[in-house]
Symmetry: C2
Subunit: 508 residues, 2 copies
């Protein structure tokens, strides 16, 4: 209830957000109304009030009077209660049974073991006990155990991700650093992503060379900027084969270790003269001709956060005037979240320096113990190639977004620990990739979400809007984000996080 | 206006309470309504809205249209404007004149100097200027200068205090530490305090020995616990002389350096056998007889904060069953304040350790750049001797106070940076000492106030009450305070400061 959350919020504030303070929720016979439907992706978890999903719920008290009775006399739970308990299991919440035994099933759920003789050293009390008689709450335990066994087995993708849940990672700096081989390997495991790139290139090739001109048209020229160890080069070759279009391509890669692997792969897979390797930073490369399409996979969890805009702006000089970029467009999304665990993880990073630093850094993270408090909103969009109308005009990749969020449950207050960030991209035509929950590409594992912390969590008062602002800013050497809660919720305000890029930036 | 303050609050939050962010107030022709009368002690400063008094106001813009015209045609200010400008001067706020010259006094306020010849190197522009002609705003400047000269000269007490304004001092730990000679000297400079003690002892002696029994009554026995270098011993002797009562006294002092001074003073002033020195900690002293009155000066800026209750509870075994304590009673007071400067001073104390520590410590401080946001309320009271009804019952010196403050100006929001603490004491009968502004003992300089910080300043929303709680807690070795904003103002809450005495305590 609102009263329960207000009480929790007050207690936590008074205790100074002590990390050892946890919650036991009471799952009563009457459940509060479900909040308005979210933007999907949550599955069973949607049964839980999102305000609590991000809070440190350790136990759920399930009284016996919350059970119904099935036709055989056994205790059972309503569908909504079942969904709640299943959701709690996915969050590793301990279920605590309590109350009087209100059900007497016709037969004991477990065969009664023969009563053992009291041991020699036992006192009178022990002698009177009947350790083999089932606990009076055994039928309830058995039912909960049944719900647990009924949980769907985690998918391969979920299994792979489980070790990363709620673990904060610093975003990659692919321009400044060379990726390690293991990082490429992790990326390349995601076949869904490369299949989608192949589909996009196929669609492009079919548009570029209509069926009737397949024989006569000159080869289509593709330019892969940031080829890595070649997975998308291979996808392009497969796309050319699948569509029967003639194609040759250039693969530009700056990382010398990746170039070695790329060369071996070219030999092993017989890429021959269809692929020309250019071992160079794409910002300084000088390929011998312009391309019909610039292919890249430079997107980060927040779309533009690994500087895809700056890279592609620099690389579009390789592109013919009518050339296209794959991806053609990408958009980031933000949503306010309850995420006490992530906030505590930020606080635990404190190292005695400026305590703001770790709260002013966005983290790549497999969001798990997180409650989505409002539907996400589109944040920043970039379109490529980016040729400003003025011709000679400089490209301005700075952005500013102002968002007014409406709470999913307008009658309930919640605590905002920061923002979740996602992205979608249109690779070509209607071929898209997305980690935005409502449109997430099924089974794609390549990107986790991004978490923008708030140093001091904000109480989002019931019934009020929450206004937030995000900025993408930069100078000649670096790019960064700034973010703040700027009002709307009864004067709730935060400082502008990462003002001037003081705590976090991405180097150009 | 409320809008102006809200804007300032939002800007400051967005800038993360940056210490270089300051305010220029516009002193317009129409001044906002004066807030409800406070509890005195502020003088001219009362003309200013208390919400701004604690904020970093560096400049005041005074437009020419805020001036009236006197009968001679000179610009002048209304009484309220004069009070505001005078108050600004006491806060070292720079006054900025602006606007068109709207007054033409009949004669120039300064004789025009002869126009100097343009210097050899001057260009045409310089040649055209008339540097000696008074600035068009000169009549306004002259008037402001007149207001400044009209300010009352600071009193001796104010002069002595001026170096301590807004300077945070850690409270004394007189039980654990021995005071230095310079500290005693500072104390002893305050004749008002010792005169008041003398009055209290005189009143006690007259009550104890009625006029008709002066000759026959046995000598009254006084026991001075914590005699220091003897100023109150001397006051007691003067009281005995002034009333003609026979008296002998014991002076207990633990500080060996003070005892030496005390012995010299006894010899120099011929105290003779009227005063027996006992060089011992009052907790372990064993004087040869019980006293009619226990005299002490153990009070701190917050009354009980230097452990007067614990000391006097221990010393009351020296007291006859009908004996009295001088002081008989003392009460602390608290009030929410706006005090950005003090808060910034706390923040500047950060030393890379737990950042809470310096915000969970009360500081003795000559409050100056401070706005009193509500009338203060009595906090903790102690009465001596303290003989619980049960006889053998243990004395419990723990206290808890819950306060609901109403803003002086209910229509205006304000920022609470912490609490001011004061005390009053009834020494004997109706003889009192007070540093509580409404009843402050005139010209007494002995105590500054105490400042309880809030780590994260709280926005006190217009029209809402502010609930705060204070605790005095302790264990066998130490005593401490805890404090928090616990609601009332739109859910405004802070953590409980100094929980369990983790950041600050006074050793027993």
């Amino acid at each position: 209830s609102g009263g329960g959350f207000a009480l929790w919020h007050a207690l936590r504030e008074l205790c100074g957000h002590h990390p050892r303070l946890c919650i036991a929720l009471e799952v009563s016979a009457e459940l509060p109304d479900a909040p308005a439907g979210g933007d999907g992706g949550g599955g069973a978890v949607e049964a839980l009030d999102p305000r609590w999903l991000g809070e440190p719920v350790r136990a759920a008290l399930l009284p016996t009077d919350a059970y119904l009775t099935n036709k055989h006399g056994y205790p059972t739970l309503s569908r909504r209660h079942q969904a709640v308990v299943s959701a709690l299991f996915t969050r590793d919440v301990q279920v605590v049974l309590h109350g009087d035994s209100l059900h007497t099933p016709p037969q004991p759920p477990l065969p009664a073991a023969p009563k053992p003789e009291p041991s020699a050293g036992s006192d009178g009390k022990d002698g009177q006990s009947a350790p083999s008689r089932p606990h009076p709450l055994e039928p309830y335990r058995e039912y909960i155990s049944y719900l647990y066994r009924k949980l769907p087995a985690p998918s391969e993708c979920e299994l792979a991700e489980s070790g990363y849940r709620d673990y904060l990672q610093s975003p990659l700096q692919p321009l400044a650093d060379n990726l390690e081989s293991a990082t490429y390997e992790t990326f390349e495991r995601d076949q869904i992503k490369y299949d989608t790139y192949q589909s996009a290139v196929e669609a492009f090739l079919r548009d570029k060379v209509p069926e009737e001109r397949v024989a006569s048209a000159p080869p289509v020229v593709l330019m892969m900027v940031g080829a890595g160890r070649g997975p998308i080069v291979a996808a392009c070759l497969r796309a050319a084969d699948a569509t029967g279009r003639r194609m040759r391509m250039y693969a530009i890669e700056k990382n010398p270790n990746a170039v070695v692997t790329l060369q071996r792969r070219a030999e092993a897979e017989g890429w021959g003269d269809r692929v020309t390797l250019i071992a160079s930073d794409m910002r300084h490369a000088a390929p011998p001709e312009q391309a019909d399409a610039l292919v890249s996979e430079l997107l980060g969890s927040f779309g533009d956060n690994e500087l895809s805009p700056e890279c592609l702006d620099g690389a579009q000089r390789f592109l013919k005037p009518d050339g296209v970029s794959i991806p053609q467009e990408y958009t980031s999304y933000v949503a306010p979240i309850s995420a006490a665990k992530l906030h505590a993880a930020c606080a635990a990073l404190q190292d005695g320096k400026d305590e703001r630093t770790h709260f002013e850094t966005p983290y790549v993270c497999k969001l798990h113990s997180v409650g989505l408090l409002a539907d996400s909103q589109p944040c920043f969009t970039f379109t490529h190639p980016n040729r400003p109308a003025g011709g000679d005009a400089l490209i301005d990749n700075r952005r500013h977004g102002r968002f007014v969020f409406a709470a999913r449950d307008p009658a309930a207050a919640a605590c905002v620990h920061g923002f979740a960030g996602y992205f979608t991209t249109r690779l070509y035509g209607d071929v898209t990739l997305s980690i935005h929950p409502p449109t997430h590409t099924p089974e794609m594992s390549s990107w986790f979400a991004i978490y923008f912390p708030l140093q001091h969590p904000v109480l989002w008062r019931a019934g009020e809007p929450l206004e937030c602002q995000f900025w993408r800013d930069g100078d000649a050497r670096r790019v960064w984000y700034e973010w703040a809660v700027t009002g709307g919720s009864g004067g709730a305000l935060t400082h502008i996080h990462n003002c001037g890029g003081r705590s976090y930036d991405v180097g150009l």
